[in-house]
């Protein structure tokens, strides 16, 4: 018997591996579980080396890491505190995952107001990164649907934050990367549904102009997102599939989702993803949809969370991990910038497995540091290849800056301090709201003295 049977009372903390989803960089931190709302104040007294509240570790880079510091793990704080079916307002502790919220809400006829491409993120993480989803063009960011939350500071003070109460703290904390304090609980406005099904339509497009045309025509559709081939050049340049859907209006059975069964079992070898395999994948994906237009009634799980079916799919990228790159470029330069950046990616030959293209709408983001802005967003994955990935990344980041865009901290592991400070010139005003005890490897990286770079 290698493990000691644990009593439910046992409190454990200590050095433990905590990985971000990109598995780059990797730092070991001291994991301190917060299982109750009161644990933060107790933990905050006597912690040296700074701390960072963390959840499921689904952000890609280092916003959820703190080298040599304390990671305050919130996933034990997963309690529901109140639900009003008349308004859809759900109050829960911040460590609850969106998957747990769905398990509760869907059988009661409710759905998340905004969901990212994985349901394995915490409520607190969704607020701290002010995440977005396929309905950004109509619903705005996640934070737009958070009506209020608590904020605990390491000095023991506590604030109720809402658009009307402590509005500056509300705005600093949404998209605040977990640095303004601990969010012990939050209230989220759920939206009603009558069915699990999504009325889905997939449409092939060739080039950015066809994508923009489809975007314009689908303005009224709640969810839109596109997969784009960023390997092909010439005739097939920027070909893709435009995917759109609405919650079905036909009442259906609102049963809970089954538990995921598949786990990607091992780290793939570094050569598994190369330009040939990725190119083959992209061609297959494009032609999986044989007809230029396909309609279907699809369960929300494969529509929103196709990759959640395989837990730990990030192991496909092997031990060296993956880099994400996601920009938002405003409309003025969105077309031009997207063509230029996709061109640079295709030319580089550094395979991108998943490239996701979407138009952001003009619903204002509530967060001071929120990433989304009206225009086009493109998200790419790169397997990390020494000597190649980072120079390309830096070039793409500079191009983003030239086109007036910015990058997404939740997906970043490589932007420079100078780039960050140009993307988010408001960072210095935001820094005034940071809790002196809280920091992250990301924050230390991007607020470092530019002179030392």
């Amino acid at each position: 018997m290698s493990q000691t049977p644990t009593s439910p009372e046992v409190e454990t903390s200590g050095p433990a591996p905590f990985e971000s989803w990109g598995r780059y960089p990797t730092y070991s931190g001291n994991v301190v579980p917060l299982n109750w709302q009161g644990d933060f104040t107790r933990a905050a007294t006597g912690l040296a080396n700074g701390a960072l509240p963390v959840g499921m570790g689904r952000s890609y880079g280092d916003v959820c890491l703190l080298k040599g510091g304390n990671l305050l793990l919130t996933t034990g704080m997963d309690r529901l505190l109140d639900f009003d079916p008349a308004t859809g307002l759900l109050t829960a502790e911040s460590g609850i995952t969106l998957a747990q919220i769905l398990d509760f809400a869907v059988p009661r006829g409710f759905f998340l107001p905004v969901t990212p491409g994985t349901k394995y993120v915490t409520l607190g993480g969704a607020i701290a990164n002010d995440i977005h989803g396929k309905n950004h063009h109509v619903a705005g960011t996640f934070g737009s649907h958070v009506t209020q939350f608590g904020l605990m500071r390491s000095d023991g003070s506590y604030k109720l934050c809402s658009p009307t109460e402590n509005p500056d703290w509300y705005s600093a904390t949404i998209g605040g990367l977990g640095l303004t304090g601990l969010i012990p609980w939050a209230t989220l406005r759920l939206r009603p549904i009558v069915s699990r099904e999504i009325d889905y339509e997939g449409i092939q497009f060739h080039g950015i102009d066809e994508f923009l045309d489809l975007t314009e025509k689908s303005k009224h559709i709640e969810y839109t997102v596109s997969w784009v081939d960023c390997v092909s050049t010439g005739r097939n340049f920027a070909r893709g599939v435009f995917m759109q859907g609405d919650h079905s209006a036909v009442p259906g059975e609102l049963k809970p989702s089954p538990e995921p069964k598949l786990v990607f079992p091992f780290d793939a070898p570094g050569f598994a993803l190369n330009k040939y395999t990725v190119s083959a994948f992209n061609t297959l994906f494009f032609h999986k949809q044989i007809k230029p237009r396909v309609t279907a009634l699809q369960d929300y799980e494969p529509f929103f969370y196709p990759l959640d079916k395989v837990l730990h799919w990030n192991r496909l990228y092997g031990k060296s991990g993956l880099l994400q790159f996601q920009y938002a470029i405003p409309w003025e330069s969105a077309r031009e910038g997207t063509i230029a950046i996709l061109g640079a990616v295709a030319k580089s030959g550094l395979a991108s497995f998943l490239a996701v293209l979407k138009a952001f709408g003009d619903v204002p983001s509530p967060g001071m540091m929120s990433f989304p802005q009206p225009g086009i967003t493109l998200a790419l994955d790169f397997p990390i290849k020494p000597g190649l990935s980072f120079p390309l990344f830096e070039r793409l980041a500079d191009m983003t800056l030239d086109f007036g865009g910015r990058l997404y901290p939740a997906k970043d592991a490589a932007m420079t301090a100078a780039q960050f400070q140009a993307f988010y010139p408001q960072w210095e005003s935001f820094a005034r709201y940071r809790d002196p005890m809280l920091t992250s490897s990301f924050w230390e990286r991007v607020t470092g003295d530019p002179a030392t770079l």
Binding site: M1, Q3, T4, P5, T6, S7, P8, E9, V10, E11, T12, S13, G14, A16, P17, F18, V31, P33, N35, W36, Q37, G38, L71, L73, T75, G76, M77, D78, R79, L80, L81, D82, F83, D84, P85, T91, E93, G95, F104, P107, R108, G109, G150, M152, Y158, L160, P184, W185, T187
Partner: protein
């Protein structure tokens, strides 16, 4: 309490036929396994009376179970080490629930083995919390249930009670005593219509261990909770959870002492 969400109102759960709401007393309701089990029962519309030491934690658990669909939730803050207060507490709980179908004993401490080796007072404290206090509660509850010829006593023991090991024999012996007590109690009261379920969990991954090395191999607390709730419903006698621990412990119990005493377990 300032840190809780404001305006906690009770709301109706969605349309669901409540046949007969199970009346369940939970002792040690803020422990990870107990809370997870209560979520299963809450979703079934059970009535729950929750007892724990910490008022703040108890309030959070109670709010959660109400939202998840419990028909009725009441709580009492109590230190279960105080056996003199048991009769009053138990009578109050049963009064609040207007009866009792299931008593779930889930309180306990792992304790500090090294400290318990050095100091009898520490060992005595572990034995008191994990063995003496449950005996007090079980004696009262069993007699109450025997009078009514019905009820289930579901008690968290541990695989650690199956054989003493150097790494945690004080904890293990408290659970061994508890398991032996439950075996005898079952032998006495089963024929009176009262079920005694001895639950022996292996290592369980709770939120607090989820980021730890090797914890991927621990059992998921929600899966464990579902298994426990099902075993209570099926009126089982003994439950190893996950089930693999039954053959593992059979093997460990049967290692000859001449070999066992040299092992590092």
């Amino acid at each position: 309490m300032s840190t809780q969400a404001p305006a906690l109102a009770a709301h109706a759960v969605p349309a669901r036929t409540i046949y007969a709401s199970k009346k369940i007393l939970v002792l040690g309701a803020t422990s990870g396994i107990a809370e997870a089990t209560c979520r299963v029962w809450a979703a079934e519309g059970a009535s729950l009376f929750l007892v724990a030491r910490n008022a703040e934690k108890l309030a959070a658990v109670a709010a959660d179970l109400k939202v998840r669909g419990a028909h009725y939730v009441d709580t009492a803050v109590a230190d279960l080490d105080d056996t003199a207060k048991h009769p009053e507490l138990l009578a109050h709980a049963i009064n609040s629930l207007t009866g009792i179908d299931i008593a779930y004993l889930a309180h306990g401490v792992l304790g500090d083995q090294a400290a318990a080796e050095a100091d009898f007072a520490t060992a005595e404290q572990i034995l008191h919390t994990n063995f003496i206090a449950p005996v007090s509660l079980l004696t009262w509850l069993a007699n109450h249930m025997v009078q009514r010829k019905s009820g289930v006593l579901a008690v968290l023991s541990s695989v650690a009670g199956d054989r003493g090991r150097k790494s945690n024999y004080v904890y293990g012996s408290s659970k061994a005593g508890l398991s032996a007590f439950l075996g005898g109690l079952r032998n006495r009261v089963d024929r009176e219509g009262v079920t005694v379920l001895t639950i022996k969990p292996g290592p369980v991954k709770t939120a607090m261990t989820s980021a730890m090395k090797g914890s991927e191999k621990f059992a998921d607390v929600n899966a464990v909770a579902k298994t426990i709730a099902a075993a209570v419903g099926a009126r089982k006698d003994t439950l190893y959870v996950p089930f693999q621990w039954q053959p593992i412990m059979f093997f460990i119990r049967n290692i000859p002492e001449s070999v066992f005493k040299k092992l590092n377990l």
